[in-house]
C-alpha cells in the first residue's frame, strides 16, 4: 500500500473523513476538519509503523494534503537510509494502542 493510501485508509476508516474529499486534487489538511488531537492521532498511525516521532505536527494544518504526505515520506526516508519500507497500516485504534 502507498503511504497516501494508508493515511487515507486511516482517515476514512477511523477518523470518519468523507471519502469523496480525497477526489479533490487541491485538498488541504484543514479540509479534513481534524482538531489538534485528531492530527496527532493520524500521525501516530505513521509513527507506530515506522518507529519514530514526527516533529512539529501543527505545521501540517496549513499544508495541502499532498504536501503533508510528501513531507511525511521525506521524514520516513530520512529514517530508513533513503528507502520507504513496506507499509501495513491497520487503520484501527485498538491495534494502534
Amino acid at each position: 500500500m502507498s503511504l497516501t493510501g494508508a493515511i487515507q485508509k486511516y482517515l476514512i476508516g477511523t477518523a470518519g473523513v468523507d471519502p469523496q474529499k480525497f477526489e479533490q486534487p487541491d485538498l488541504k489538511v484543514s479540509d479534513l476538519a481534524l482538531d489538534s488531537l485528531g492530527l496527532v492521532e493520524m500521525l501516530f498511525e505513521v509513527e507506530d509503523q515506522f518507529g519514530f516521532q514526527i516533529p512539529d505536527p501543527s505545521r501540517y494544518q496549513t499544508m495541502s494534503f499532498a504536501d503533508m504526505v510528501a513531507d511525511i515520506e521525506r521524514l520516513v526516508r530520512e529514517q530508513n537510509d533513503g528507502k520507504l519500507p513496506e507499509i501495513a497500516l491497520t487503520g484501527t485504534r485498538a491495534e494502534a494502542q
Binding site: 509503523q49 518507529g51 516521532q53 494502542q97
Partner: protein, 419 residues
Amino acid sequence: MSKVVVTGMGMLTPLGSDCASNFAAVLEPRSAVRKASDTLSVGLPNLLVAEAAVAPESLLDASYHGMDRATLFALVATQEAMGQARFAAHPDDAERVGVYVGIGFGGAHTLDGLYKRYFTALHSTTLPRKNPTVMHPLSVPRMMPNAAQAAVSMRYGLRGQSNTYTVACASSAIAVGEASRAIRHGSIDAAVVVGTEAMLTAGALVAWNALRVMAKPFEADVSASCRPFDRRRTGFVLGEGAAAMVLESATRAQQRAAPVLAEIAGYGCTSDAHHLTAPSPHGQAAAMRLALQEAGITPELIRYLNAHGTATDAGDVIECESVAAVFGSATSTLAMSSTKAVHGHLIGAGGLLELALAIMAMNSGSIPPTAHLDDPDPQCALDCVPLRARHGCDIPAVMSNSFAFGGSNASLIACRAAH
C-alpha cells in the same frame, strides 16, 4: 436550600447492563464472581474477578472506542440514567448542570497497555521498527482520572461546576454527596453523577493480591467465594463497571415534570486519621451520624442499609459495631445486606451502585439479601438478610455506607420522594 432528588439511574456492572437486570440479580441472588481468565491469572491460579456483563463498546458509537474502559463504562451507565430522567443533551441551562464522577484508579487499562507496549518494544528483538518511545498521543488524556467526567460533559454539553473524586472505595459515594450539596447550596441546579472503575488488569490484580484482601475460591462453588458477614469469609472480589444518577433540585425536576425516584436527604463524610487500610468504628459511626443529622431523621426510618460489607475479617465486624452504635434500639427494625457478594467490589463505582440498589429496594419494597451467608458470624450480630430477599417491606429511607482505604468514610441517606 433546595431539596435534591434523583430523576434517573443507570448501571453497567458484572450483573447486567441496566438497572432492572442488576436489581433482579441482587434479589435472586445471582453471583457474577468467576475464576479469572488465563491471561489475567498468570501465576495466580486462585484469582477471582467479577467482569462486566457486557463489553461497553457494544453499547457505544465507534467514535468512543479508543477511550479508557472506565470512561466507556461511565458513558454507558450515563446513557441509561439520562434516558430514565428524560434529560436531553445540551439543556438550555447547561451552565447550571455539572458532572460529578467518582473513580478509584483512573486509566488502569490505558496505563497497563502503555507499559506493555513500552516494554515489549524495548526488549523485542523481532520488531525492528518498533520504538518504545513512540506512544499513542492520547495516552495521557485517556488515563487521567477525570477522563470520564470530561467525556460525559462533552457528550451531553453540560457546562456547570464539574469534579472528579478519587477517594478509593468511597469515591462515588462522595461524588453523590458533594453533588447533592452543590445543588442544595445553589451553585448548580442539576448534576450527572457517575461512579466508574475498570482495573481488572494483570498489573492491578497482582498489586491487589499482594495486599491479601482478596477472597479465596470457595471450594463448593467458586461464584460463592465472596461471603460478607459469614464465618467463612476470606475477603472481596474485584469487580468493574459503572453506575450513574441524575440529581436535580426538586424545583427543576418539578418544572420539567421529571420522574422522581428518591430524595438524597443526608450525607456524612469523615476521615479516620488512624490507619492506611484498617477501618475505624469511630470514623464510620461519625459519618453515619452526620448523614442522619443532615437528613433530619431518626434511625428508625431507615429500614434498609446497603453495607460496605467487603467480607474482610476485620471490616465486617467493625461495620456491624459502628452500625449498632449509631442505630441503637433501631437495629431491631434494620435490615442490612452487602450486595458485594454478587457484583464484587467495584471500588470507585461501588458507592453509587450500592446507593442506587438501595433506592430500588426502597421503591420496590424488596430487600436484597446477603448472598452466601450460610453461617453468620456471631461477631456480626445484626440482621444481615441471609440468602433470601424479602418482599413487601415498608422502607421510608435507606442508607448506603462506603469506607475507603486511606480512612475516608462516607454515608448517604435516601428517602422516598415525598417523605
